[in-house]
């Protein structure tokens, strides 16, 4: 009589866990446990996504989460996010200047050439998505050979430490409003305060930074296709390692404590008039940033940031401009959890539903 009859749930869940563990190791003697480094280095796309959606920059634990969830992105982000709940937040960083990123890639779609140069980096953007059958049975020697000889003819000193931001060019020309935010404004923290709408932009940005990639993409795509009018130009996408500083506990001076791999995108959108009649019209900006190398996510986020700013200013004309609609429906942990919960027993509520329907039916029958 199903899995709740009255007793037996305990054993059922234990056996389900054991079976999952068997599936993880099903290769048996042919298999070897995947190492955390294998995941970090060879499943970079997935690893980046988990760092970002898990909302915790911990490359080792992100790899562990991927391993134990057998590569399910929602489950892996979930485990990482849940671990976060066990740790107090002791300090806050100051605002960080992303022009200091140690870049691995930066491009602009707005200008053919930019100060510092376009830097394509590692991207599948211009590759043919043909299956590489040569990788089906790759030899360890060939695999190791590629990285072993890679640095031979490269000069690491050729790469500058900082690159100017493309958007600063537009600001200098007066095509873009200069930023009214000097970084001193305290950021909203959605992990310590519930969002009560309307929320400040920092709350929206933080929600999106750990939002689920597919959810962000879907709502941003609706805007791109016509349920909205951001019409973005990618001013700059940059990917790299940002040095992170914390105030020294004694002296208070900023001390570098490490670096995080992150993706940042700034989109330039259609211009609008200033607050008063004298003000010049200027381009508007949308901003996206997240942990890891996740370009689609950062671009989608930048478009949504622009759409939400417009919605907050003029009222939402479509879902992508509605802060409640966007921000409360993009979290992968929330949405997958609630979707999954429908598999749990609902006997009591369904009993109650049947009671209402039967009563209504019998009344109808009586009336006929």
């Amino acid at each position: 009589m199903a899995y709740v009859a009255i007793q037996g749930g305990q054993r059922a869940t234990e056996e389900a866990a054991r079976l999952s563990e068997y599936l993880r190791t099903e290769q048996g003697i042919e298999g070897r446990p995947v190492s955390l480094d294998d995941i970090k280095y060879q499943l970079r796309g997935l690893h980046s996504r988990i760092l970002s959606e898990g909302g915790l920059y911990h490359p080792d634990l992100a790899a562990l989460a991927i391993k134990q969830s057998m590569g399910d992105p929602l489950e892996a982000s979930f485990a990482l996010r849940a671990y976060r709940s066990t740790r107090p937040r002791r300090m806050e960083t100051a605002a960080h200047d992303t022009s200091r990123m140690r870049l691995v890639r930066r491009i602009s779609a707005a200008f053919k050439d930019i100060p510092g140069g376009q830097m394509l980096g590692a991207t599948p953007d211009y590759s043919l998505r043909l299956l590489r059958f040569d990788l089906m049975d790759e030899s360890p020697e060939a695999f190791q050979e590629i990285a072993g000889t890679w640095m031979e003819n490269l000069n690491a000193d050729d790469v500058p430490d900082t690159f100017p931001k493309v958007l600063d060019l537009l600001r200098e020309e007066g095509l873009l409003a200069s930023s009214d935010n000097d970084g001193s404004e305290e950021a909203f923290d959605i992990t310590r305060q519930p969002m009560i709408f309307p929320v400040p932009r920092s709350a929206a940005l933080q929600s999106m930074a750990r939002g689920e990639t597919g959810s962000l993409l879907m709502i941003a795509y609706s805007n791109m296709r016509g349920y909205g009018d951001v019409h973005p130009t990618v001013g700059e996408v940059r990917v790299g390692y940002l040095p992170v500083e914390l105030p020294h506990p004694v002296t208070g001076t900023p001390v570098e404590i490490g670096e995080v791999l992150m993706t940042e995108c700034e989109v330039v959108a259609m211009y609008e008039g200033g607050d008063d009649a004298q003000a010049q019209p200027r381009f508007t900006v949308g901003y996206g940033a997240c942990f890891g190398h996740n370009e689609v996510k950062a671009i989608a986020m930048a478009i949504l940031d622009r759409a939400l700013q417009k919605g907050m200013q003029d009222g939402a004309a479509n879902p992508s401009e509605d802060p409640e609609f966007v921000l409360l429906h993009i979290d992968g942990i929330d949405s997958m959890g609630f979707c999954t919960h429908y598999k749990m027993p609902h006997y009591v509520t369904f009993q109650s539903d049947m009671d209402r329907l039967r009563t209504t039916q019998s009344k109808k029958e009586r009336d006929l």
């Binding site: 009589m1 899995y3 709740v4 009255i6 007793q7 749930g9 305990q10 059922a12 869940t13 911990h58 490359p59 080792d60 979930f78 485990a79 996010r81 849940a82 671990y83 976060r84 709940s85 066990t86 740790r87 107090p88 937040r89 959605i190 992990t191 310590r192 305060q193 519930p194 009560i196 709408f197 309307p198 490490g258 409640e324 942990i333 929330d334 949405s335 997958m336 959890g337 609630f338 979707c339 999954t340 919960h341 429908y342 749990m344 027993p345 609902h346 006997y347 009591v348 509520t349 009993q351 109650s352 539903d353 049947m354 009671d355 209402r356 009563t359 209504t360 009344k363 109808k364 009336d367």
Partner: protein, 303 residues
């Protein structure tokens, strides 16, 4: 970056899983919820290691209020042994070393439940914590939270009344089956969580403190002890709980314990026969096999 810290359960997780600041925040929110009966207190819900929608809100409340000397009961659909109840209980035992668990309603100091309030009346020594998927009853009529907050503040429930009226016009019956909107202490209307209508009267002047935790929606609310709780209805339309009667109008009995005063689950057996059985398994077991049978208070767990 290599991290050399070893991760073992005892060093990786504090008592009650959540960090101390989180628990303090939740306890403060609970106090506010008690002070404003029925008001949804927003709080910064933390991610728990089980799915949103599986009781993470109630779980955060439970973990924030229990101490090592508490005795805990966890039920789902009235059953202590439902997979989700088992899972939550196991997690709480693992992360709260020293805590005792029980299936006996009267032995528990803290009860966490999904979709039911136990049949056995609760006492002022107990806290009942309900899992909540939708904290706001106004979501039936208004999707925007910002607007709903204003409506609650003004006790403007006109559109809920209209919804009830429209039901009467169309079906001659209020069709809300569970999550029945209930007015607390004459002001705020709350969503009592998906308990059946059968359990709604148990909220009224309950001796136990009843807490509601919505993790995904980040809200905590309460029905404090001895507080008025009235399901919304019209003067000439009485509030009606689920009925369990046969074709002749006789009250159906539980096939196991014979109770005619409990909420019944309906089953169809393998032979196609329709049978009824108590939804509250502890109540059923203690009636059919004596109270001792329902006790399986686990030994103190030394994690």
């Amino acid at each position: 970056m290599k991290n050399d810290t070893p991760y073992t359960p005892s060093t990786a997780y504090p008592f009650g899983f959540l960090d101390a600041y989180a628990k303090r925040e939740i306890r403060r929110s609970i106090l506010k919820a008690v002070a404003l009966p029925g008001y949804q207190v927003p709080y910064a819900s933390r991610e728990m290691p089980m799915g949103r929608g599986f009781g993470t809100g109630a779980l955060q409340l439970t973990l924030s209020v229990v101490g090592p000397d508490d005795t805990l009961k966890v039920i789902d659909q009235g059953s202590d042994d439902s997979v989700n109840a088992v899972n939550l209980r196991r997690f709480i035992r693992k992360t709260c070393p020293g805590i005792q668990t029980t299936t006996l309603t009267e032995a528990a100091t803290v009860l966490q439940s999904r979709h039911r309030i136990p049949e056995k009346p609760l006492t002022e020594e107990q806290i009942c914590i309900l899992q909540v998927p939708y904290p706001d009853p106004l979501v039936y009529v208004e999707p925007t939270e910002e607007k709903r907050r204003t409506m609650h503040g003004e006790a403007d429930y006109a559109r809920l009344w209209v919804k009830l009226y429209e039901d009467m016009r169309e079906f001659d019956e209020i069709t809300i089956s569970h999550r029945y909107p209930t007015r607390i202490n004459g002001h705020y209307v709350l969503d009592p969580s998906p308990i059946p209508r059968y359990d709604v009267p148990k909220l009224n002047r309950s001796r136990a403190l009843i807490l509601f935790g919505a993790g995904r929606e980040k809200k905590i609310y309460a029905v404090p002890p001895f507080t008025k709780a009235e399901p919304l209805t019209f003067e000439d339309v009485p509030f009606r709980t689920e009925t369990f009667v046969d074709a002749d109008g006789n009250r159906l009995a539980c096939r196991r314990c014979g109770a005619t005063d409990s909420f019944l689950d309906e089953f169809t057996t393998d032979t196609g026969e329709k049978v009824f059985q108590c939804s509250d398994s502890a109540y059923c077991l203690s009636r059919s096999q004596g109270p001792a049978s329902a006790i399986y208070t686990e030994a103190r767990h030394d994690a």
